[in-house]
Symmetry: C2
Subunit: 191 residues, 2 copies
């Protein structure tokens, strides 16, 4: 892909992300994306054939970006608590940006198109967190927690906040409560 | 209200609950509710003037039903772990019924009508759980946990599951993970 094509593709993905986060998945049309990117119909369609394809590309991108962080660092022998601290900080920042939450769009997408993709992402997210916790336990850094249980607490309390922060205003201490709770379950040293 | 009027009112609320859970808030009209209840327009409007009024009455009902359980039992001196066990069992059952989840409807309602009511319900829910945990700590039944933090874990992991169980299929062990984690934080005796 040429540099210009790549820039256009990135523009489409970024702009569409904002549209999906603001309005959900169902309402967004290719015309909306043309208007928001200032691309012609032909220009847009030369990259993507539907809002669905764009949305799936965004989800795939989020999933891969996420996965890389953990596994690469574990392989490089970075301390589990360093990886965990950064992951939780990132989580806190995401929770603090309800306007960027794709919760509603994911909900609408799964209902109207395909739940399999979300199952796949959910599973890969579960595996990633479980691998990190296991890594910390085996290295003697983390308490021997029930891994599956804690992973679910991490994922669903995060998702609950992502959803509800779009419904009611939330202060940063809510996000810190979630991450602080997770740290307390894991860390031998004082949080 | 006469007995017949009360039955009609209950029928409207139950039927509308199902409609809101299935289709969200925005799409449901008074005509949908007439059709689903087999009531005439006049019959329906003599009870409620809008889907919004019906939805708010449903939310108010859920909120009050919930609140009663906890406070009454604490006043009667029921053991904290008995109240907590039952509350968590109820929570598990609710999580196991994604078809009854009002998550999407609440989301749409808050976006289009009013976030204040949800703030109020969220606050009263926080207060209720906090009161129960405090009661258990003061009675020596529960560990001295960070109450605010644990309440948020309870509420948002519950909400995350309620939302995501509509997106992906979930097995009962997910719901038990959530409640088991909460019990482990609180109980001196083995769970």
């Amino acid at each position: 892909m040429t540099a210009k094509k790549e820039r256009t593709r990135a523009l489409i993905l970024e702009t569409s992300y904002t549209l999906f986060a603001q309005h959900g998945f169902s309402k967004i049309t290719m015309k909306d994306i043309c208007d928001a990117t200032n691309l012609s119909r032909g220009g847009l369609y030369s990259h993507f054939s539907s809002p669905q394809e764009i949305f799936e590309t965004i989800l795939e991108g989020l999933n891969q970006k996420d996965e890389m962080n953990f596994y690469q660092e574990m392989e490089s022998g970075v301390a589990a608590n360093v990886i965990m601290d950064r992951a939780l900080l990132l989580m806190e920042r995401e929770m603090a940006s309800p306007q960027d939450s794709l919760s509603l769009a994911i909900y609408e997408y799964s209902g109207s198109v395909d739940a399999n993709l979300m199952c796949h992402f959910n599973q890969s997210s579960e595996q990633k967190w479980a691998a990190l916790i296991r890594y910390g336990i085996e290295g003697g850094e983390f308490y021997k927690v029930d891994i599956e249980e804690l992973v679910r607490i991490i994922l669903y309390s995060y998702q609950g906040v992502r959803m509800w922060s779009r419904i009611i205003p939330m202060t940063p201490d809510v996000f810190r409560s979630i991450t602080s709770h997770i740290k307390k379950q894991l860390y031998r040293q004082k949080v």
